[in-house]
Amino acid sequence: MTTSAPVVPTNKLGLTKQDYVGSKSTLCAGCGHDSITAQLINAAFEMNIEAHKVGKYSGIGCSSKTPAYFFNQAWGFNSVHGRMPSIASGAALANRELINIGISGAGDSMSIGIGQFVHTIRRNAPIIYIIEDNGVYGLTKGQFSATADLGSVLKHGSVNELAPIDPCTLAMELGCGFVARSFSGDPKQLNTILKAAMVHNGTCIIDVISPCVTFNNHDSSTKSYKNAKDHDFPLHELGFVQFNELEQVEIPAGESRVVTFPDGSKVSFRGLREDYDPTDRFGAMKTLHEGLEKGEFLTGLLYINTEKPNIHDTTHIVDTPLVHLGQAALKPGKDVLAKCMAELM
């Protein structure tokens, strides 16, 4: 007796999840980063992303190795430490049709790369900017990063005496139009946030607490699985509906808040905390700061503003991707040179 092979699910492009994977991860077994990679694969599969339109970028560090582990059919660029955002911004300007996924870490973004982090948000370059945040430098064998909490203890016993920099409140202060925090141990929430980010047309800062199993996963570390699980307070239950699925899926009515993206997709928030409004920047910042004081990881889509002009708007470039322009559009004619010369005579 034969049994038929199980049907492998495909998405609207006829692709399987397997079509979105990358090379095998070389990170430590149990690394939180691999869970983030898995959710990127799931989200892209569910969102019917055409992988060839994706640019994957990273700097240096454990997190920055991960773009090799998803989307084999996308172009990847592992650049220099802390400088992923400028590479991604350059590519985004050259080809405005690219979906840009930047993977960074706590050291890469909050220390050496904090300048680029800040200014990329200011310019609102369309990048899904994921910080795989473990509070530690794993690749150089366990030094504190700038997101390590005050009093946090490393495996070998040293205590962090400096206050952390929080990427989310910093991003909100800078006016970022999409700020989220999640936990690599909460795949459902992360998946929803990633899907919403894939339709947002500006910088998306997603700080994902991602414990380092090798150097920072003991009980006294605030970025350990145990501590993160104990202190992970989701702000809301998130729902996401892509534009082309709107007819089939109903947005839960009632208490839900709904924000619509320019392409028509919708994200819904069912509040778990009273009065948390992800479109109210000042209110959101107050809640976040209070949470940080209490040692809580408030997770979810913390702030959203879908109407902020992005780098394509502020550079006033043509609607066609610049790389698709031919010589005729790029090289002015003889008459122009003659005019320029005449003005200099």
């Binding site: 350059g90 985004a92 050259a94 200014h119 790389v323 790029l330 005579m345």
Partner: protein
């Protein structure tokens, strides 16, 4: 004619430096100065022209808060009268400079007129120095090197510009922005070039390589300190083979140095930027036409060779106004290099991003966004093999480094050849960039006053081409003229031509001022004594 080292006429307006300046003059020089400075008491071998600037400006300019600025226009009138200048020229210049600002034009013109009238009435006639109009320059343009480079980049179709202000390069990008504003818009008025003032030079270089990687023609302009900051990225661009154009308008280093003075001080920096073994195509324009031409060509070279290309000018070329013949239109098509599209990829069996298929060291690249499911690859600054996969294997690494060197060899056939003046002399002069006018004049002086004929090779690019090989071979001695202390170009020559090391003699100039012919003459004569 290059600039002279000796000053014939000095106008002293700055009380702080006037005394020092006058003491440095050669006997017989003319000095126009602000009367209260009493410079005529300093020495008695100069010819003095004291001018009551304050009195003149008070009488001619009704607005006291502008007096300080307008004072400088008084001396334009004084000097104009003294030198016999056609004053309609200054009038035209003021009108052009202050385009449309009628009030400013009137105030400045009134000051010039006041100076002129005062000089005509009160100053003794001077016959030694006169300005005589000639039509030998008819049809020429006046432009600075930064604007010429900007024009070249605009006609090269530059698509992405990331920059950070720094003297003396800022006006290069500012000119480009102005030109693009006018000539690089589509039918809807939108720009076909994105220019972004970045947060620093690091991010500027990143923007260039991100854009270059994605298939755009991208550039930045900076000066020495900026190149230092960009070095890490530039090394990445070399190793991962991404096109990008880097204009270095050099100033006097090291460190902050003399930001408003000139130097050819970044020759080695740009030849071998960043850690590890690296080699770059460098272009050395020597005049305004070449600033335009090489800026245009640099984008072709960057894409052909998939590598960062430096256009190395300096403050003297970049910021000073120079006269030039109008630039010829750059004919022909852009060279976009070896880029595979969907169709080519579909027909290929075994594409590897870093495979040397043609034996010229230049691999084929693909651009993100190319459909068809083929051609995606992973760019990494770490070790990579011909298929862009991570590797630490010794042979993969040496294969890659040797291919990069082979690619550099290929570039010899593409970069601008040197300009050689072969007089049959065994005495050679090798120079580049802004040294050209001084070298040209020095060669005339050497030939006429000292009966020393010289051959001249004006280097216009790295890598050194076969013309350089031949020049070095046939010369007994080669004077390498450069504007830095450490003989940086000579060091490169010795590295690439070790067998000729003893032939090279350095003629050096590094005080921040433009090179004068006399400096070259003196040093060559000293060598030959």
């Amino acid at each position: 004619m290059a600039r002279k080292a000796v000053v014939d006429l000095m106008i002293c307006m700055n009380p702080e430096s006037a005394k020092d300046d006058v003491l440095k003059l050669t006997a017989g020089a003319l000095v126009i100065y602000d009367e209260p400075l009493k410079l005529n008491t300093l020495r008695d071998d100069l010819i003095y022209y004291p001018v009551p600037f304050q009195k003149l400006v008070t009488a001619s300019c009704p607005e006291p808060k502008l007096h300080k600025l307008v004072k400088n226009m008084i001396y334009v009138g004084v000097a104009g009268q003294m030198l016999g200048l056609d004053m309609s020229e200054t009038k035209m210049a003021i009108t052009k400079q202050l385009k449309g600002k009628q009030k400013a034009i009137e105030i400045n013109q009134a000051a010039v007129d006041a100076g002129f009238a005062w000089a005509a009435e009160n100053m003794p006639e001077q016959t030694r120095l006169k300005v005589v109009a000639d039509n030998k320059t008819a049809g020429n343009i006046i432009i600075d090197g930064n604007a010429a480079c900007a024009l070249g980049a605009m006609f090269a179709g530059v698509q992405v510009v990331g920059w950070y202000p720094i003297t003396p390069s800022s006006s290069l990008v500012e000119s480009l922005i102005d030109y693009a504003d006018e000539y690089r818009r589509d039918e809807n008025g939108k720009l076909t070039v994105a220019h972004v003032q970045m947060e620093d030079e690091l991010a500027s270089a990143g923007l260039v390589f991100g854009a270059g990687w994605a298939g755009a023609r991208a550039m930045t302009a900076t000066s020495g300190p900026g190149i230092s900051l960009m070095s890490e990225f530039i090394g990445l661009g070399y190793f991962t083979e991404i096109p990008g154009v880097f204009f270095n308008v050099a100033r006097t280093g090291p460190s902050t140095g003399l930001p408003t003075r000139t130097m050819q001080g970044d020759i080695e920096l740009c030849a071998k930027c960043s850690h590890g073994d690296t080699q770059y195509i460098n272009l050395y324009p020597g005049n305004m036409s070449e600033c335009f031409e090489f800026a245009y060509e640099s984008f072709n070279l960057a894409e052909r060779f998939q590598t960062p290309v430096f256009v190395v000018t300096d403050l003297d070329l970049g910021m000073q106004n120079w006269m030039s013949k109008p630039f010829p239109y750059p004919e022909g098509n852009f060279d976009r290099g070896k880029v595979l599209g969907e169709k080519e990829l579909a027909e290929m069996k075994d594409w590897g991003r870093y495979k040397d298929v043609d034996g010229d060291g230049i691999p084929y690249r693909t651009l993100p966004g190319t459909p068809g499911g083929k051609g995606a690859y992973f760019t990494r600054g770490s070790g990579h093999n011909a298929y862009a996969q991570y590797t630490e294997k010794p042979k993969d690494y040496t294969d890659l480094m040797d291919r990069l060197r082979a690619k550099y060899e290929t570039a010899k056939g593409y970069v601008p050849k040197p300009i050689v003046d072969d007089t049959g002399s065994k005495r050679g002069v090798l120079a580049f960039g802004s040294s050209d006018p001084a070298v040209t004049e020095a060669r005339d002086v050497l030939a006429e006053s000292f009966q020393k004929k010289t051959d001249y090779l004006r280097l216009r690019a790295l890598p050194f081409t076969t013309e350089v090989d031949a020049f070095i071979k046939r010369s007994d001695v080669i004077y390498v003229v450069e504007q830095n202390r450490d003989a940086q170009m000579k060091a490169l020559l010795v590295e690439f031509y070790p067998e000729a090391a003893m032939k090279f003699k350095s003629v050096l100039h590094y005080d921040g001022m433009a090179l004068a012919a006399q400096t070259i003459v003196d040093q060559i004569i000293a060598f030959e004594k």
